[in-house]
Structure formats: structure tokens, C-alpha cells
């Protein structure tokens, strides 16, 4: 079995706690992306799992075996780094073959594995070439092939496509998707690029300040972040946030916000607390015509973003936020134009004063239904 289990894993550098007592299990045969902003501890965590960094305290287990103090070569892992680690002066075939020589397998088996992994990565035509003849993206594929062909139980990737050109990124992402479908290893993949994580991972472990704040499948994490940080970090751009005081209302705790035509009941809320509402820009609806459940606002500015969509900065009674709308919708909403803004209740996330997701429900009053 190749599950990775961490027990209160901690790393301190002088007065900085880079990894803060992480306990988690990464199941066998899954791809988990460690995602977070620079400095969140993801690379340090990966390096401790690889054996390249000594933990300050805590343990690392691979399939039940304690490996915490074993050097990398005794851990039976494959690693792919930010820069392709390949042997110069020899062919691609030989590069992939060398680590296999230490395994007790026949020459035919070696050849079979090399050809199989080369096919998976689109390296068949490069097998005879010497690595310095190849571009960076192809060299990185060779590095991946080397790590995979050995069939280690665990493969670790440290931002492998960060330094690779656009075309190679596409090819490597595609190859990685294929690979993860075929492979049974446990894969950990560090990235600061949320698109990579959303595209490649079975599970994303979102990190902030040395901790794993949430671990979920990509869409689940995107749609239901556990805290304000998750709502903010994921998304281009992330969630809009509004602070609102809860007051006593006829139907229970209530909030009144310029974003809605009438008061909303917050079932599960506490009157007197200041909560945070979050909604993603792509869920805010804009229209030139009045719509039920909406309020009047104004377009401050707009910009063309991915796919010709418009990211509009909208103002409603002093509240400024962003809406991401389809090209046809955004095209007619020029800066200065009046607009009708609707924030559908099903897309609103509620967070407590401490930033954690609330277990609460928004219920519309008459005006919004």
C-alpha cells in the first residue's frame, strides 16, 4: 500500500514556523495537489515527505512504514522538480533506463516499461535523441518518465511545469492527466497555480501559513470553501466579500443589505454578530433591465477577461464588487451605465466573524421571491 500518513509534522526555521503540526493521510492511488500562496509551506511539506528536509518534530509513514528519518533514496519514491533533472550526454532511452538498472528486472521488462512510459508521454520519437537536443518541455517529460518507469509507490512533483513554455505546459498537463488515469501510485503535486490544481488533482489540499486549511475535490473546494481564505484564493478573481450585522427580525436573525431588495432571514445566525457574505463574480448577475430579486446599481469600470467575458466593477449604494459576465451581456454595459444587480441566494456563502463557514441558511422575504 502506498498511502502517505503524516503525524503532527512540523518544521521550524529560526523564528518561523513553516509547517505547523500537520496530521493527514493522502490515500493510495490518488493525486493530491498542495496548493497555496508563496510562503504557505507547501514546498517545505513536500521536501519533508521526500526526505530532503528534516522535520523539527512529527512523523511520516508510507503504507504503514515509518520513513521520517530515511534518506530519499531509501524511501522508494520518484521526484520531479521545477527544473528538469536529466543526465546530459546520453539518450532519452538511457536516461529512463538508468534508474531501472537498480531494480531486479529483466532487460525485456525494462524495455517494455520504457516504451510504455514513452508512449504515455509522447516521447516515442525522442527515445534515441540526446537530451541536450531537446527543449525544456520535452526534457521535463523525460524527467517524469524517469520517475514513473521505476514504478515507485509514491511520486512527488514540485511545481514541475512552472518553468516550461506554454506549449510544453499543455502537453505535460495532458500527459499528466493520462498518466494519473493509468498509474496506481500515490501522487503529491505542489503548485501555486490554481488552474493546474483544479485541472490535475483528485483532491486539493489548500494551504495557508503552514497549515492545510481544507482538503477536497476541486469543484467541492471551489463551490464550498470552508473559510474566507478559500473563497478568496480560488477563482479569477476570488469571491466578493461583504460584512453585515445580524439583527433580530420577525422570522429570526435578519440582515439588511443594499444587495437585496428586502431583508433576508439567516437561519442559524446569531443576532448581534457581524458576519461575512461571499459571492463569486461569475455568480453575480447583471442586466440592463430590472429583474426580480435585484437592486439598482452602476457600472464603474469593466475589463475584458478570459474568453471575452467582461469583469465589471459594480457599485450599489457605496458597496463595490465585481461581476464576471458573458461577452454579449458585458458589451452593452458601458462604464457609467445603470445596471440591475442580482445576487442569487444559492450562490451566497456565509462566514462567521472568525472567517469560518457558517452552518446557516439564507431565506428570502417576500420581495426577493
Amino acid at each position: 500500500m502506498s498511502e502517505i500518513r503524516l503525524e503532527k509534522l512540523r518544521k521550524e526555521f529560526d523564528d518561523l514556523v513553516a509547517v505547523r503540526d500537520i496530521s493527514i493521510t493522502f490515500p493510495s492511488a490518488t493525486v493530491t495537489c498542495l496548493l497555496g500562496p508563496s510562503g504557505c509551506g507547501k514546498t517545505t511539506l513536500l521536501r519533508m515527505i521526500a526526505g530532503l528536509e528534516r522535520p523539527t518534530s512529527g512523523e511520516v509513514y508510507f503504507g504503514g512504514q515509518r520513513v521520517t528519518h530515511l534518506p530519499p533514496r531509501k524511501r522508494n519514491i520518484g521526484m520531479v522538480f521545477q527544473y528538469p533533472v536529466v543526465y546530459r550526454g546520453i539518450s532519452v532511452y538511457r536516461n529512463i533506463e538508468l534508474p531501472l538498472l537498480e531494480e531486479k528486472i529483466s532487460r525485456q521488462e525494462r524495455q517494455r516499461r520504457i516504451e510504455q512510459v514513452a508512449a504515455l508521454l509522447g516521447l516515442e520519437d525522442s527515445l534515441g535523441k540526446e537530451v541536450s537536443q531537446l527543449d525544456n518541455g520535452t526534457r521535463q517529460k523525460v524527467a517524469v518518465a524517469r520517475a514513473v518507469a521505476r514504478q515507485p509507490r509514491i511520486i512527488l512533483f514540485d511545481e514541475p511545469i512552472t518553468n516550461v513554455d506554454v506549449n510544453a505546459k499543455f502537453q505535460l498537463k495532458r500527459a499528466f492527466k493520462e498518466l494519473s488515469r493509468e498509474l496506481e501510485q500515490t501522487i503529491l503535486y505542489v503548485t501555486h497555480d490554481q488552474t493546474e490544481a483544479m485541472t490535475l488533482a483528485d483532491q486539493i489540499a489548500l494551504m495557508q501559513k503552514g497549515e492545510i486549511v481544507q482538503r477536497d475535490a476541486p469543484r467541492a473546494l471551489y463551490n464550498r470553501p470552508n473559510d474566507v481564505f478559500g473563497g478568496w484564493f480560488l477563482g479569477n478573481p476570488g469571491m466578493n466579500f461583504f460584512q453585515q450585522e445580524l439583527v433580530d427580525g420577525p422570522g429570526g436573525p435578519e440582515l439588511r443589505s443594499p444587495l437585496f431588495p428586502g431583508p433576508l432571514t439567516v437561519e442559524g445566525g446569531q443576532p448581534g454578530t457581524r458576519i461575512t457574505l461571499g459571492i463569486r463574480p461569475e455568480h453575480v448577475r447583471l442586466s440592463p433591465e430590472p429583474s426580480p430579486g435585484g437592486v439598482a446599481g452602476q457600472i464603474l469600470r469593466r475589463a475584458i477577461v478570459v474568453g471575452g467575458q467582461y469583469l465589471c466593477t459594480v457599485e450599489v449604494e457605496g458597496l463595490r464588487f465585481k461581476a464576471k459576465v458573458a461577452p454579449a451581456v458585458g458589451h452593452v454595459l458601458k462604464p457609467g451605465a445603470s445596471v440591475w444587480v442580482t445576487c442569487p441566494l444559492e450562490w451566497i456563502a456565509l462566514f462567521q466573524p472568525d472567517g469560518h463557514r457558517m452552518d446557516a441558511r439564507l431565506v428570502a422575504g417576500e420581495k426577493i421571491r
Binding site: 498537463k173 495532458r174 490554481q194 475589463a303 478570459v306
Partner: protein, 367 residues
């Protein structure tokens, strides 16, 4: 009013022509982006504006006045260079304050200006540190702060956000745009990132190999590009190109591509020789998955190669008869690409037509 102007600017480094007869006017109070692939000449162009380099020929005007050979210190331009060097013996506060003190600003005024710039760049906790204590991204932010504190109305920022953390870039783009708008100052900004250019530019000049291909309001260049290269550079994901042939048939003009054939509407003087080899282009968002059906809509079967999840939308990489294609779907439509085999639909009017040199010939015609 014109804040800055380039007239017939040329520059060579040895035998390499880095700028060739560049003409450009930058309106006062505008956010103007010089955009093009790496090594297109945009950094050299802005360095000429700051006076740190001299053109071989041509004229530079600042605020309507001849400035071609004016020393940098007399140009009164705020400058964030691409490879910045912070003063290693000054702390962050003093690095940012430097240009203000150089212009002999009273001490009481310096402090709030530096604080405001530091707040905007989110480097307040670093004010007492020295450059050797900072990360690459932090140093970059200090350099930006130092460039924007200057009491002037013209700012030049040369690819200031390159390499920064994705989320930080997002925030700084917002802050820079907000700052420019609220102060009404002129920003001349270079980048080779399509997303940055689209987010920031009010006006954009597309540079390629030392020449300006097209320039004007961003909205105009985006929706009505006159050059194939403009269409290729100004958009994300990148536009789809198809090789085609312009032919006449039964009194009308048609474009034949490997994937479909469509009627053509010429523009300009309405003249184009035929048959001729042409390039058709369609933006990813115009390759539809739940396309309109009916007369004139072009369809073709395609195979999904990769789905890239951006959160709110998905970029889908496809292949049709060996030709790579890209489309984008908003996430509520993700179910349309659940299967690997899809049918793409395009309205002919969404197709642009360019000649082999990249000049716009026309568009697809509706039936």
C-alpha cells in the same frame, strides 16, 4: 492633451533593429499599454521616454515639448524599471522616499506619501527592513512603490508584475488601475501578458519586432482587429487560426478551410484577388458547443484533448481533423463538454479573414 509622443523613432543595437519608425501618441490621463511578445521593443521604447537611452533617429515629445535629448533628471517621470536595483544600504522606507527627497520634499510630506504607497503595495511590515532581507517579490513591490511616489502626472511601468504570485498580481492590477483612475495621471505600462494587457489598458499599442502593428482604444482593437497578429495577441485563450483559400463560386466569394466552407463578406475597398491563400480566425468563445442550429451555421465534429478548469470557466482543448482548436465555456455550461466527442458550431459572422501578410480582408457572411 498629449502626454507623450514618439515620432519616427528608430533604434539599433549593432545590426539589430530594435525599433523601426515608431509613431505613437499617448493621451494625458490615459492608461496606455505597450503590448507585445518578449523582445518586441517595448522596454527600449519606454527607456527612450525616460531618457535613459537615446534614439538613433526621431523625436520624443513630453507634455507637448521637445524632449528627445533632455537628461533623465529633468523629465519628471515616475519610472518602475524592469530590472530594478534597490539601494542596498537603505531600508525600504528610505528606498521609497528617495525620489521624493531628491526633489527636496519637506519631511512632513514624505512620510504619508510613502505610507500610502507601502499600503497599496502591501509592504508596510517591511518598511524597516533592508533589501537583503526581502524576497524577490517583495523587492519588486518596493521598486513599484518607489516608482509611483513621484509627484508627477506621467508614470512609466516596465513589466512591473512579471513573476509575482498570481493573487498578488490580481490585487496589484486592481490597485494600479484604481490609482491611475482616481488621480487622473498618465500610465504607460509594458507587458507581454495578454491578461494584464486586457485588464489594464484603456488604449493599447501592439508591438511586434520593433514596429507598432496597431494602436488605439482596447475595445476597438479587441472587437475589430485589423491585423491577424493583433487578434492573436489580444485575447485569452488565443484565437483559433485556420488555413484557407478564398475562391469565387457562382458569383459569390467563399473561403474553404479544412473544416468548413463559408461565404465571405469583403471589407475596405471590397477588392481581393482570388483564388488566394488566406487565414480564417475565430475566437474560442465563438466556437460553440450548444450552437445555434439552422441555416448558415457551420459545424464540425471534434475530439476533446484536455479540459482546463479555471473555476468560473473551463478552457477546452480540442482537435478536429488534426487541427488544434480551443474553446471556452462558462462553468454553468460544463456539461456540454462532458463527453470527449463533441460537435462545434460557428456562426460565419464570427470568422475573421486575413491575407497571408496578416491584413484584414473581411469576415464570414451570414446567409
Amino acid at each position: 492633451m498629449i502626454a507623450a509622443e514618439f515620432r519616427h523613432i528608430s533604434k539599433r543595437y549593432g545590426r539589430l533593429a530594435v525599433l523601426q519608425d515608431v509613431n505613437l501618441s499617448v493621451e494625458a490621463g490615459s492608461f496606455t499599454v505597450l503590448y507585445g511578445p518578449p523582445a518586441c521593443g517595448k522596454s527600449v521604447l519606454v527607456r527612450l521616454l525616460t531618457g535613459l537611452e537615446q534614439p538613433d533617429s526621431g523625436q520624443i515629445l513630453l507634455r507637448g515639448e521637445e524632449a528627445t535629448h533632455l537628461p533623465p533628471g529633468e523629465r519628471n517621470i515616475g519610472y518602475v524599471p524592469q530590472s530594478f536595483a534597490l539601494y542596498p544600504h537603505y531600508n525600504v522606507f528610505d528606498n521609497i522616499a528617495y525620489p521624493l527627497r531628491l526633489s527636496r520634499m519637506p519631511k512632513a510630506q514624505v512620510e504619508p506619501i510613502v505610507q500610502r504607497a507601502a499600503a497599496m503595495l502591501k509592504i508596510e511590515p517591511l518598511l524597516t527592513k533592508t533589501p537583503d532581507q526581502l524576497s524577490g517579490g517583495e523587492k519588486q513591490r518596493v521598486a513599484i512603490a518607489r516608482g509611483i511616489v513621484k509627484e508627477t502626472e506621467i508614470f512609466v511601468l516596465d513589466d512591473p508584475l512579471t513573476g509575482l504570485d498570481f493573487k498578488l498580481r490580481e490585487q496589484l492590477i486592481d490597485d494600479l488601475k484604481q490609482m491611475q483612475e482616481s488621480l487622473g495621471v498618465t500610465f504607460i505600462y509594458t507587458t507581454s501578458d495578454a491578461i494584464e494587457a486586457l485588464m489594464l489598458a484603456e488604449n493599447v499599442a501592439i508591438l511586434d519586432q520593433g514596429r507598432i502593428l496597431e494602436s488605439g482604444p482596447l475595445e476597438t482593437l479587441y472587437w475589430q482587429p485589423q491585423r491577424a497578429q493583433t487578434l492573436a495577441l489580444l485575447g485569452f485563450p488565443q484565437v483559433n487560426f485556420l488555413d484557407g483559400r478564398l475562391e469565387e463560386e457562382a458569383g459569390g466569394l467563399w473561403c474553404q478551410t479544412p473544416l468548413f466552407r463559408f461565404p465571405v463578406q469583403l471589407e475596405g475597398d471590397g477588392q481581393a484577388s482570388h483564388p488566394q491563400a488566406v487565414r480564417a480566425a475565430v475566437r474560442p468563445q465563438d466556437l460553440l458547443l450548444d450552437g445555434p442550429n439552422g441555416e448558415g451555421v457551420l459545424t464540425c465534429p471534434a475530439q476533446v484533448l484536455l479540459r482546463e478548469d479555471l473555476g468560473g470557466e473551463m478552457i477546452v482543448y480540442l482537435e478536429a481533423q488534426g487541427i488544434p482548436l480551443t474553446t471556452v465555456v462558462r462553468h454553468e455550461n460544463a456539461h456540454l463538454v462532458a463527453e470527449d466527442r463533441v460537435t462545434l458550431a460557428v456562426a460565419p459572422e464570427s470568422l475573421f479573414l486575413f491575407d497571408q501578410e496578416g491584413a484584414r480582408l473581411g469576415r464570414g457572411a451570414p446567409r
